[in-house]
């Protein structure tokens, strides 16, 4: 009876060791899986002074790329089958196709789901999905002072348009309004100087609409004179 118990306990111990080894090896394998990195850029416009992320608006060209971080280096994907999927529709399915280009859907304010599936990379398959926001174009009326209270006799404003589908500022129209009136401007329509002749506490309202052939954005400012 005692001998039987010893045999049983030995077998149980071996079984437990095998189960633990199996669990640990599997967890280890899952964790060291190559990490997928998807990056993208938009062809929409931003001023040269902007060093942030240029976001796509409707109709923007988007160029995306994929890499896998395998240990401490990027893996060789030249032999892997790479499928790109946008909102459930396959965009491209090519061996080694690490780059894909597509046009941002007509969905301002929407979030597009960009998925990549990789198979035949070192015998395994994996995938990842990221969200790409589609924004409306914006314009900032950039002031020559911080805050909304000014003390000088001249306000200088410059229009900073973001995320229009244009190649150059020449493709945009700039329409300014100062206290409801169309102001006199210089040669550059993106700039506006306003001479202030008010008393302390008087306000200046500025409206700005920027438009291309297919897109439009506007902004307004309420500024207070406090010499």
């Amino acid at each position: 009876m005692k001998q039987k118990f010893s045999n049983l306990s030995f077998k149980l111990s071996i079984a437990l060791v095998i189960i633990f080894s199996f669990l640990v090896l599997n967890l280890s394998k899952a964790d060291t899986r190559p990490q997928i990195i998807i990056t993208w850029k938009s062809g929409s416009y931003a001023p040269a002074s902007f060093n942030g992320k240029i976001l796509p608006s409707q109709g923007s060209k988007i160029d995306a790329g994929v890499e896998v971080l395998d240990g401490t280096s990027f893996g060789n994907l030249s032999g892997a089958d790479i499928t790109w999927i946008l909102n459930g529709d396959t965009l491209q399915e090519i061996t080694g196709g690490q780059r894909v280009k597509f046009i941002a859907p007509n969905d301002p304010g929407g979030i597009e789901s960009l998925e990549v599936k990789i198979s035949n990379y070192k015998g395994s398959s994996f995938g990842k999905t990221i969200q790409v926001p589609i924004v409306s174009p914006e314009v900032v009326a950039r002031k020559n002072f911080s805050g909304n209270i000014f003390s000088g006799k001249q306000i200088s404003l410059s229009a900073k348009p973001y995320f229009f589908n244009i190649q150059s500022l020449d493709e945009l129209n700039f329409d300014w309004l100062v206290n409801g009136q169309k102001p006199t401007q210089g040669n550059d329509p993106s700039l506006l100087d306003v001479n202030v002749q008010g008393s302390s506490g008087s306000t200046v309202s500025v409206g700005l609409t920027v438009s291309s052939q297919s897109q439009k954005a506007d902004t307004s400012l309420g500024l207070q004179f406090n010499p």
């Binding site: 111990s13 669990l23 040269a48 911080s146 150059s168 500022l169």
Partner: protein, 372 residues
């Protein structure tokens, strides 16, 4: 029976220890996670709190705050010989005391950016529309020009030589090019080819390039350290919201801002990806500079606006302009000295030379100096 139970318990304990050991090995190192307040060291004092002292004050044009030139400036390089500036009109000028001299017989039309080599001997100037930028280099000693190839993107100077790194695209791949600007006829070294798009480069120490996937509060982005001599890659920041960074030139530290929808968290990191300190104020990394054990920062006086702003987007789009306190932060003790208070200036491109701190006011694009 007792022996059986002991054996089973022993096996369970051994297995548990094996698994625990594995888990600990795979768990992030303490302080490795940006924004994990549980791991962060106590924040440095907020401006105006505790150890803060003030040595200068006043509003715009106050004590010590006069522009060093009437010119509007893209960038500058300060040395013991004076200050070299690149103006928004594309002039390259030398300032020494009250004297201004032209250092180039020609101006650069439509100049949009300028950055100086490690010793200020050369300056890289960007021109043109952001969708198709072009770059040229002016050698201040030889008075000669050199042009980067069409398509060069995200150029960055070496921290210690006249080499320059830039990316260009060929066959749908981004190629890292390293050129020696002292030997313009030699071919570029191309240590790596990648499919990461829209990355900005920084070159903190020789052999290491940091690639930053530009951030927005609307997306998650990452920062990688690329050892181009060893062909190794490691993530410094991985898929965080609203990322913006600054890395110490010639050093091993960086500042990382991660936005949180509104506001953000500013963290001091090392180039191994470890979080070293978390600050209790919010400023943009580009408003700071490292100088030895000190960090110099323009910190917006109105912290409430910073904590409600969509960062980094609002600052980078210039819808948020700031009025800064200029702070000198001791990174060892955490002590803060206020060099100038509520300046009315939005400080960027800070640099120390001798006993002076220089910066550019983003609003007027004029350069200032403050006793350091």
């Amino acid at each position: 029976m007792k022996k059986t139970i002991l054996i089973v318990l022993g096996v369970l304990a051994a297995g548990g220890m094996l698994y625990l050991g594995y888990s600990l090995k795979k768990a992030p190192a303490p302080g490795n996670t940006i924004g994990n307040t549980g791991n962060s060291l106590p924040g440095l004092p907020s401006p105006g709190n505790g150890t803060t002292t003030s040595s200068a004050g006043g509003g715009q044009g106050g004590l010590g705050l006069n522009p060093i030139s009437d010119k509007t400036i893209l960038n500058y390089f300060a040395s013991k010989n004076g200050v070299v500036i690149v103006t928004t009109a594309g002039e390259i000028l030398g300032l020494s005391g009250k004297n201004t001299v032209s250092l180039s017989s020609s101006t650069v039309p439509a100049a949009t950016s300028a950055s100086f080599s490690f010793d200020g001997g050369k300056v890289l100037i960007g021109t043109g529309e952001p969708t198709s930028p072009a770059y040229r280099i002016f050698d201040l000693n030889k008075k000669s020009w050199q042009f980067l190839p069409y398509g060069a993107a995200s150029p960055v100077w070496s921290p210690s030589t006249n080499e320059l790194a830039y990316m260009d695209t060929r066959n749908n791949k981004e190629i890292l090019n390293i050129i020696n600007t002292d030997k313009p006829n030699t071919r570029a070294k191309q240590p790596t080819t990648i499919s990461l798009v829209d990355t900005k480069s920084e070159w903190p120490v020789y052999g290491t390039i940091i690639l930053e996937d530009a951030g927005s509060y609307l997306i998650n982005s990452s920062v990688w350290k690329l050892g181009w001599s060893t062909n190794s890659v490691s993530p410094l920041v991985f898929e965080q919201q609203g990322v913006s960074t600054l890395w110490e030139r010639g050093g091993t530290r960086g500042l990382v801002l991660t936005g949180q929808g509104r506001g953000g968290v500013l963290t001091l990191m090392d180039t191994s990806g470890n979080s070293l300190k978390q600050f209790s104020f919010i400023t943009m990394p580009e408003k700071c500079a490292f100088s030895g054990n000190f960090l110099l920062c323009g910190v917006p006086s109105d912290q409430k606006s910073m904590s409600s702003a969509r960062l980094p987007d609002a600052y980078q789009k210039e819808s948020l302009l700031t009025s800064d306190d200029i702070l000198k932060i001791d990174l060892n003790s955490g002590d803060i000295k206020t060099l100038a208070q509520n300046t009315g200036l939005d400080a960027i491109k800070l640099a120390v030379n001798g006993s002076n701190l220089y910066f550019i006011d983003r609003i007027t694009q004029k350069a200032y100096e403050v006793p350091f």
